[in-house]
């Protein structure tokens, strides 16, 4: 076991443990805070994968914006969110069964793939993922069209969110 593997196992256990707390916590504010810790663990996973920019974006966008938006929404609907009563469906075991089947099926499918146990090649010297990513996002031969479509989608979501949540009275 190398140090990297030990770090990975600790972070993975942290991510999965807080993920389970997200879906089982009775208090929704606690669930949102557990989501923050899950997202932070995933950011550490990105850093382990040498995707530093994605790790920073994860912290800034997910934790800084999306998780805080969730906490705002929980507080705006707080009156209805008493912690009494069941937090889960009556057929929760069916959901657990489906989720376990999906997990087992995914692992079974991936096991037959030849690259399953492959290890990563070393990064080339002087490798700059951020500049490559920036070029890929704006170069016409690569991904400029999905990039522009994503910006149109964000604009549409902005307008839609304002329209849907607007109080007409």
């Amino acid at each position: 076991m190398t140090a990297q593997q030990i770090i990975f196992l600790i972070v993975a256990a942290f991510v999965l443990g807080s993920g389970v707390m997200v879906v089982t916590a009775r208090n929704l504010v606690h669930a949102a805070l557990w989501l923050v810790s899950t997202l932070f663990g995933v950011a550490v996973i990105y850093a382990l994968l040498n995707a530093n920019f994605i790790a920073v974006v994860q912290v800034v966008v997910y934790i800084g914006a999306i998780a805080i938006l969730f906490i705002f929404a929980v507080m705006l609907t707080r009156r209805d969110m008493r912690d009494s009563g069941p937090q889960m469906n009556s057929n929760w075991w069916l959901g657990a069964l489906v989720a376990a089947l999906v997990f087992v099926g995914l692992v079974f499918l991936l096991q037959g793939w030849s690259g399953f146990t492959g290890t990563a090649a070393d990064l080339p010297s002087g490798f700059e993922p951020i500049s490559l990513l920036g070029e890929a996002l704006v170069s016409p031969e690569a991904y400029v069209l999905p990039f522009e479509v994503a910006s149109v989608l964000l604009l549409a979501a902005l307008v839609g969110a304002v329209y849907v949540a607007f109080n007409k009275k």
């Binding site: 999965l16 997200v22 997202l39 929404a73 489906v98 376990a100 490559l132």
Partner: protein
Amino acid sequence: MIPQSWYLILAAALFGIGMFGVLTRRNMIAILLGVELMLNAVNINLVSFWRYSDVLNMSGQVFSVIVFAVTAAEVSVGLALVISAYRRRNTVIANDLDMLKF
């Protein structure tokens, strides 16, 4: 070095946990929290496939950046819907919102 299977199994487990939350929680905001976990699992997969194949091909990272944008759009519209439904019906329990049912 860490084999790629570790990342893929972690992502599959996180996806399963998120799917459990989506299928079983009664509160609409909790359902959206489950969707967040599933999207994060997908992102781990995309970034690990970038790292373990040709690192000069940035497709994996570009896709994960676009997943970030889609997630932001999904959460803003989803939470707006939840707040709107709460204003009109005074509930955030998915079972109580059955106006479209006969």
